[in-house]
């Protein structure tokens, strides 16, 4: 008879646990071992992800795969493992300390319903580092960091994850006879499962608070907390749901290829700036100039500046066009500056300061342009046959400036504007812009 056909009698190593006499961690780990054996899992099919603290020593007493990470972050490693290998059984062993430190991870794992099992060895204090209070320390408890009694309300772990999507949450104690069955139930639940297992820290919490097995039960009662399987949610497990969703998706990366279809010789670098308002399609107007430059066989670069609020305030786009590759993308002195709105004018000061008679400013009529050394062309939007909406003015004025200066060949600009999904509308605006009255 082959030995390999027998179920694993244990997934424990031969080493004894290192825990203090009376500590509840050992019995909980024994229950975990029983659960793994009952489920007939082989060591290589299980990854135990341990946190920091006394519970963080746990993985070394199992023959399974193991990951011993940072304090409070074990859920994140477990999530990464489960995401890539949904077939593995991933069990997190953490204390109440790590649960508090990694609270955001706990919530997110529950909300995602990632298919890991979290075993919280909850002994109400940071037992490895001196018994400091944790997020689960009951009010009034004495710890080195709450010498006059804890003022903070203890975290209800099960309710917190339970109302936030966790598939399975259970509260019990290290003394429960059915603990291994409940752990097995958690592991076999399809989704995020948590077992909040209360136990005794004989080194600190028991000593500091005259705490006992009986008081675990009375504390639960006092806090109005129940034990047993408390919450269940039926929702797709994340790693599986992600793969299902991915099936319908297409590769997203798109490369814009622009052929130099109308090459024009360019001798020196040219700088173009359009300064307007957010929501005024300033960037897309400037993009047409950039693309027209590429169509002409030039290199181009475009830098956009706008406030973080995106839809309010200024929007300024700088375009550089060059016969050679552009390594430096700054613009100090534009050859052409188009000022569309007051928001844009507010950002035009440095350009206007640097510009001289070699440059031209196209400014919308009615804007109060400060004195500048540049040539100034006032563009009158009201001269159009129909009113130009503010969101279209940038493109109309850019068309006007390109038409008058030839900074980029107007043919290329027009051809660029006319291509793409907004081609027809863009062309209309280019035509309107070209004929705007200037002075």
């Amino acid at each position: 008879m082959s030995l390999e056909l027998l179920p694993q009698p244990t997934l424990r190593t031969e080493a004894d646990y290192p825990f203090c006499p009376g500590c509840g961690h050992g019995p909980v780990l024994d229950a975990l071992n029983e659960a793994l054996v009952k489920l007939e899992l082989a060591p290589h099919e299980v990854v135990i992800v341990s946190d920091i603290g006394c519970s963080g020593l746990s993985d070394q007493y199992f023959t399974t795969s193991a990951f011993h990470g940072l304090h409070g972050r074990s859920i994140t490693y477990a999530t990464g493992i489960k995401l890539m290998r949904p077939d593995l059984t991933v069990v997190v062993i953490m204390g109440d300390g790590g649960t508090g430190i990694g609270g955001a991870h706990l919530l997110s794992a529950a909300r995602r319903n990632i298919g890991i099992t979290v075993l919280v060895l909850n002994n109400f204090n940071f037992g490895m580092t001196g018994g400091q209070h944790s997020t689960t320390t009951p009010e009034g408890s004495l710890t080195p960091t709450t010498p006059a009694g804890n003022l903070e309300h203890p975290l209800d772990i099960c309710a917190t994850v339970g109302v936030n999507g966790a598939a399975f949450s259970y509260r019990g104690t290290s003394f429960d006879d059915d603990l291994s069955d409940r752990i097995a139930e958690g592991i076999t639940t399809d989704g995020f499962s948590i077992l909040d297992v209360w136990d005794l820290c004989t080194a600190y919490f028991v000593r500091n608070n005259k705490f006992s097995r009986r008081q675990i039960d009375t504390t639960m009662e006092t806090l109005g907390l129940e034990s047993g399987v408390l919450y269940r949610n039926d929702k797709s497990e994340f790693a599986i749901a992600y793969r299902k969703l991915a099936e319908g998706q297409h590769e997203g990366l798109r490369v814009t290829k622009v052929a130099a279809s109308a090459p024009v010789l360019l001798d020196t670098r040219r700088h173009f700036v359009v300064a307007g308002s957010a929501g005024g399609r300033v960037r897309s107007a400037a993009r047409l100039v950039s693309l027209a430059a590429m169509r002409s066989g030039w290199w181009s670069a475009q830098r956009d500046d706008y406030p973080i609020t995106v839809k309010s305030g200024h929007s300024v786009s700088e375009v550089i066009m060059s016969p050679e590759e552009i390594h430096y993308s700054g613009v100090e002195k534009p050859d052409v500056l188009v000022v569309v709105s007051d928001d844009g004018l507010g950002k035009s000061g440095p350009y206007l300061e640097h510009m001289d008679a070699s440059g031209t400013v196209f400014v919308a009529a009615g804007l109060d342009l400060p004195p500048t050394g540049a040539r100034v062309v006032t563009v009158d939007p009201a001269s159009a046959d129909t009113r130009i909406p503010s969101a279209s003015l940038a493109l109309a004025m850019v068309a006007n400036a390109i038409h008058h200066t030839g900074l980029v060949p107007f043919d290329s600009f027009e051809a660029t504007a006319g291509s793409g999904s907004f081609g027809e509308k863009n062309l209309e605006l280019v035509t309107v812009g070209k004929t705007l009255v200037t002075s």
Partner: protein, 337 residues
Amino acid sequence: MMMLRDLPARGGIGMQGEDEIASIGMCIGAAMTGARVMTASAGPGISLYSENIGMAIMGEVPLVIVDVQRLGPSTGAATTTAQGDVQFVRWGTAGGFPVIAICPSSVAECYTLTMKAFDLAERFRCPVFLMADKELALTMRSVDPADYARVEVRDRDIVDPADKNPPPEYRFDPPDEVVPMQLYGGSHPVRFTGSTHTEEAFITKKPSIVGALNDHLVSKISDHVDEIAMVEADIDDEAETLLISYGVTSGSMREAVAAARGEGTKVSSLTIKTLWPVPEANIMTAALGVSRVVVAELNPGLYMREIERVLPHVEILSIARTDGVLISPDQLHEVII
């Protein structure tokens, strides 16, 4: 965000973690199953990666971290460019152990050096930083497809998952050697720990083992700088001045050098693409014969201290800018002549 869209269709996974700590944590866990992993943020997020960077060093996890640098300190200025993290990424986790940091100086290099970063991560089983900046990331540029050469990314060197009697997870001797990785999900259990450990990945504090482990973490990189060092040297043997820069500022340097040479001025330049480990031999070679070195960077002069260390007998001038504005070719031109 493009990758979040792109990866699922290619069989990968793209996630937004609840915070940067979760993102890097998920990456490390996923790497232990064999995945190539990358996480990206800016300086404030790199701060949150800090502890896990140390753990990836300790556990020898291949991991690519993209730092699109922005102006600091603290939240600094959103979408404002800077190069202020060049020392931070090297020293940003407890213990002082080495990482690799490489720095693209053009959009095309963001492509090629990302592949290089993955390759180095596999070769050395450590975190590799890709140091971009806001200007490179958010300025649209036309590019030449010819610059987008494919860089070979080696497969992960792993212990056969079917091996029922595998070697220990780690090996510290010879100290500079990197051994094949063992992954979760094969036919044997695999251990990992972020604490000082034996070769079997059990926690230990035994000085002889801890010393060997930590020597290994240093030597595997410091003994192989020649495999990691990347620079772009543009040398004029008669130049008296050598400009040194990296990243987006190298772009300005290239233009300043071209302009100076157009006027008949002799000048050399060095773009540093591997920031860590410092490519000391390449820097010394580039500086042969020059009397003056100018280091240009968008921070308070952070990498200049490495140059001073490597070139103790050369006059070094720092062009450092921290106002969110690029160093212009004109600004560099002034110091060349």
